[in-house]
């Protein structure tokens, strides 16, 4: 248990590597198949800004060279892979010449912060409620109210986000409508800024929480049903332990572990959902960056953001796979699965 078997580690690493490789390749191939030329879009933007562009042929050639479009395809591909591995996604065409990696570095902390926060809250609430649904000592109200709340599970966070935005931001004006912090505060480690960030982040986080806790609750419910019939629970009851103690120390503790692997399957949808929530709240994260890039047809940014989000997903799955056997000693790393 103390060390990870080499074969298992290699297997997981191979999956991680293949995921990133296939994603990167898809992101590279797809635009190549398209008739649209990024250099011409760039030129079109210049023309739109200035009215007319002198020497357009020369500029087009220069741009092509900058984007590396003159090399043979294979060389372009290898260069691209190397650049991707080194997080060099080129320059943004909409906010030329800002490097894409700089834009992503600005947006990533916001996305990660929102994601980790809402994930911790939903994991906690969802598992607790799921356990209470099965526990025979739960109050009647809990057993009726939770299943009713469960219908929200299926709704993507963007829909709950719209609803919350309308009620709490547009109508009641309790929370700001958009943004990640107020325009009047200076970003930094100040109290005002922290308050502003929390105030702005509340609705996006809530819209994710209310539609995702049910996923954990449903999974927990299934696991609790299994645990409920175990001999050790019967023994604990026979010993006369307090019901609450049995619930936390005997039932939830044993049921919660498989829930962690459920995360690995869900993380992709969670991140995609959050990207959309960020887009409607204009929250300064990857979602807004992606949406702005789509509006501006800013290919390097679209490619960079997509790659980084897929990388985030693959890494999360990898980490869960690796740490899972450490927290649940019943599971052995198995090479064949």
């Amino acid at each position: 248990m103390s060390t990870i078997p080499r074969a298992y580690l290699l297997n997981r690493l191979l999956t991680l590597f293949l995921t990133v490789f296939i994603a990167a390749t898809l992101i590279w191939i797809i635009p190549r198949l398209s008739p649209v030329d990024p250099a011409e879009i760039m030129l079109g933007r210049m023309a739109a800004g200035a009215g007319a562009v002198a020497d357009s042929e020369a500029i087009l050639a220069q741009l092509r060279q900058n984007f590396g479009l003159d090399d043979p395809l294979f060389v372009q591909y290898l260069k691209y892979l190397w650049n991707t591995v080194t997080f060099n996604f080129g320059l943004s065409t909409a906010t030329f010449p800002t490097p894409v990696s700089a834009l992503i570095a600005q947006a990533l902390p916001w996305t990660l912060g929102l994601m980790i926060l809402s994930l911790i809250i939903t994991f906690f609430i969802g598992n607790l409620l799921g356990a209470l649904m099965v526990w025979e000592k739960s109050p009647k109200l809990v057993r009726v109210a939770i299943p009713a709340a469960m219908v929200f599970t299926s709704i993507p966070p963007i829909l709950s986000g719209l609803l919350l935005m309308w009620i709490f931001a547009a109508k009641l004006r309790w929370f700001p409508l958009t943004g990640a912090y107020g325009l009047t505060v200076e970003p930094g480690w100040s109290w005002d800024f922290a308050v502003s960030v929390m105030h702005h982040g509340f609705l996006p986080a809530l819209s994710i929480v209310i539609v995702t806790f049910g996923f954990w609750a449903l999974g927990m419910r299934g696991l609790m049903i299994t645990v409920q019939g175990e001999d050790y629970v019967t023994l604990a009851k026979a010993k006369g332990l307090r019901p609450r103690y049995i619930l936390y120390k005997y039932m939830i503790r044993n049921a919660i572990l498989p829930q962690i692997t459920a995360f690995a399957l869900k993380v992709g949808l969670l991140i995609a959902g959050q990207v959309l929530v960020e887009r409607i709240f204009a929250y300064n994260g990857m979602g807004k960056l992606l949406y702005d890039a789509i509006l501006d047809q800013d290919f390097p940014v679209i490619q960079g953001v997509s790659f980084v989000i897929i990388l985030m997903t693959a890494l999360s799955v990898f980490i869960v796979d690796l740490i899972y056997p450490f927290i649940d000693p019943r599971i052995r790393h198995e090479v064949t699965s």
């Binding site: 191979l14 999956t15 293949l18 995921t19 296939i22 994603a23 898809l26 992101i27 797809i30 635009p31 198949l33 398209s34 649209v36 099965v134 299943p147 469960m150 219908v151 599970t153 299926s154 709704i155 993507p156 963007i158 829909l159 719209l162 935005m165 309308w166 931001a169 547009a170 109508k171 409508l177 419910r221 299934g222 049903i225 299994t226 399957l265 992709g268 949808l269 991140i271 995609a272 959902g273 990207v275 959309l276 887009r279 409607i280 992606l290 949406y291 890039a293 789509i294 509006l295 047809q297 290919f299 679209i302 490619q303 953001v305 997509s306 989000i309 897929i310 997903t313 693959a314 799955v317």
Partner: protein
């Protein structure tokens, strides 16, 4: 004794027992299917009773509220547009009549293709084994991690406009993994089971074993996976539409929401513009969830004892 005619009360009781014994007839499945059928009915009957031409831009006065409400300009709604109009004068009712079935169509189509591919690959993987199995297993493990939304964003921003069917095909490329994994796992465990061994000993062909012996046992799982994939596909399609991608010329619910957000419908209190498509999508997702919960009860008898 058994020949004696049953009393009416007894017959009724027996019928009820039989009805509750059939796990396919549970209320969740019933309500879920009902909600989806209602949306399909709106799409079909709506075209008969309401003029679909009203989805065109400028067919009415922009931003009219539903009857009984007032917009910011003080205009009150009329029955010419029972659900109001959006920012460029399209009738909301016509918009959902045309748009709602589109979303379902993408979901069903993508999931159906994904499911067919999944059944094929899953059986191949489970039966053939060896290198083929390794390749299929690793590929499905890898592809299940990649969120479809992002690859599709790259695709659409490079190619521009797509048709509904094209979008469904693209999404199908990301929903074959879970049925593949599910079927592979089940096939591997079933291969060892007594009845499959028996069929094999009695000289049944591989096709017979696959489709006559194994597939019927997989039906509840397949249905469950199918419905889950319909949800994923619709979520992905709506996600694309809300980012301003997806079909540009066909009215869809996601695109209506996209236009509403961009026009500031939230601040202008034009709730019918974004709210009606949102509500309809929510109903669709709730219906799919109920079906899935109902199917869970079919495939996992332990859940039947619990009331949800």
């Amino acid at each position: 004794m058994s020949d004696m005619p049953l009393t009416r009360a007894e017959r009724k009781r027996q019928r009820r027992i039989r009805r509750f014994d059939n796990p396919w007839l549970n209320p969740k499945l019933f309500w879920g299917a009902g909600l989806l059928l209602a949306i399909i009915a709106v799409g079909i009957l709506g075209r008969l009773f309401w003029d679909p031409e009203l989805v065109f831009v400028g067919s009415g006065i922009p931003k009219m509220p539903p009857p009984g409400f007032e917009n910011l300009r003080g205009q009150s709604g009329t029955f010419a547009n029972p659900l109001g109009t959006e920012g460029s004068g399209r009738d909301m009712l016509a918009l959902i009549i045309i748009g709602a079935p589109n979303s379902l169509y993408v979901g069903l189509m993508a999931s159906l293709i994904g499911m067919s591919v999944g059944i094929f690959l899953g059986f191949t993987s489970g039966f053939v084994g060896g290198r083929t199995d390794d390749v299929i297993r690793v590929l499905s493990d890898v592809m299940i991690t990649i969120p479809p939304l992002l690859i599709l964003v790259v695709f659409q921003s490079a190619f521009g406009d797509v048709t509904l069917t094209m979008m469904a095909l693209l999404i199908a490329g990301f929903v074959w993994q879970s049925p593949t994994r599910l079927i592979r796992a089940q096939v591997l465990s079933m291969k060892q089971s007594g009845y499959v061994q028996m069929a094999r000993l009695s000289g049944a062909s591989t096709w017979h074993i696959m489709f006559k012996e194994m597939l019927p046992n997989l039906v509840p799982y397949l249905f469950g996976s199918f419905i889950a994939n319909v949800t994923t596909s619709i979520v992905t399609a709506v996600g694309l539409e809300v980012l301003g991608l997806g079909p540009q010329r066909i009215p869809t619910l996601g695109r209506t929401i996209y236009e509403a957000i961009n026009a500031g419908a939230l601040i202008q209190n034009l709730w019918w513009w974004w709210g009606i498509p949102t509500l309809l999508l929510a109903v669709m997702f709730i219906g799919l969830l109920l079906i899935n919960l109902g199917l869970d009860e079919v495939s996992n008898p332990r859940l039947r004892k619990l009331k949800l």
